[in-house]
Amino acid sequence: MQYFLTILLSGLLAGVMYAMVAIGFVLIYKASGVFNFAQGSMVLFAALTFVTLTEHGVPFWAAFLATVAVMIAGAVIIERLVLRPLADRSPLTLFMATLGLSFVIEGLAQLLMGTDVHQLDLGIDDLPLDIAGLQLSQFDLFASAVAIGLVVVLSVVFDRTRIGIALRAVADDVLAAQSIGIRLPVIWRIVWSVSGVVALIAGLLWGARQGVQFSLTMIVLKAMPVLIIGGFSSIAGAIVGGLLVGATESLADIYIGPLVNGAVSNWFAYILAVGFLLIRPSGLFGDRTIERV
């Protein structure tokens, strides 16, 4: 039982990391209906910018703020060069555009910062911690705390600030939002910026875990089942989906893995996602319309 709980908890903590990547997707999807395939590249680009700066002797917080500035500049450029010209094209066109964008961002990262694998040390050891007889990774706990902090900040912003309410207004009804003078380009710049910052945080946590390298972009593929399970338009869904994927993945690895002689965690999440597609295509928290009939 103790063993089971340990596995479950470490799975949940790993799931937090998936959720972080998924949240970046959800933000952009909600506010602009764009499925942003470049989210993974943004994670890589942000983390790479950050380590490159620190390796050149820039202190932690200065590097962090500089990277935030870079991500915001990136959002402004993307809005101007990609989103605005394609404003009322089909979702498929926009998806293809973000696919192209992901190659551009990765190419740029490679060009500017090379392809080496960088070690990233956030100063938190990945040591197991014994809490009430459960073996938990100190780093995972730290990552969870960061994720919880991020979610709290985002929900306060969305519920209390003008910008947050305007973003949700656009997510609910684009034309109605325009009818009261909300400017879509401004909204897009803001969500892409926020997504860029979320990507930076996710990139730092992932990068500290497995090194900052090009394979970071692959977490976009891990975020996919999370989004299918949680629903594309809900931050709560991204979190629950992430936790569910993390937990079932690590449990399956231990309890099903030996039966099939292999690492189950590589594909288990996708099987789970397909199951959800069959049973609940809109995901756990998918777009349920609020309506009075």
Binding site: I165, A166, A169, A176
Partner: protein, 253 residues
Amino acid sequence: MMTTAAPILAVDNVHVIYGQSILALRGITLRVNEGSIVALLGANGAGKTTTLKAISSLVRAERGRVAQGEIRFRGDIITHADAAGLVRRGIVQVLEGRRCFAHLTVEQNIVAGGYAHRPSRRVLADDLDRVYTWFPRLKQRRRTAAGLNSGGEQQMIAIGRALMTRPKLMLLDEPSMGLAPMLVEEIFEIIRNLNRREGVSFLLAEQNTGFALRYADHAYVVENGQVSAHGTAADLAARTDMASLYLGAIATD
């Protein structure tokens, strides 16, 4: 039929094309005098909504454009102005079907209407209070999700949200749609009072000819993207015996 008061809105020979080829308006011409209520009547698909959207520039959000003609607001040409800029200048459209932000609370919906002017917190709070004075019922429901309110309440939310932009001219698209006659009456009374006490001019598209003509000063009948008749509301109301000639299906209402 022309009066001497200065028009707040002048639409001249406006043609609107959606996409590459759908010609929805074929030369609409109309006037809204400062401080008046003007009704835009016509059957389904006649072009009422498109006319309003051409004025507010929201046609462009639907891949439409004004291909020909001119629109003036208080003398300034606004034919190709951007929608957000027009809201700041005092033109606001309340969309057909109310279109509240369903997941936001009633209060968040209304407050969102105030953002365009970047007001201070105090101004925003004062404006919100003013809207609640017009719609006391919304104050009681302020914390509920807008989508859970009744059709009448949602229409009030939509109008209240638009009032937050401090409009000079309000474009109302079918405010009576789907509402019981008593509620329609209530909404139109509020429109009349807003017009008299706050000096807001109205251009309202309606299929409910009876109500519209009771409250409007002037009316235009749109058919096939053109104005087929216009005059004072009283004149047009007197001609309802020949309504079938120009109002199409509405005559059977």
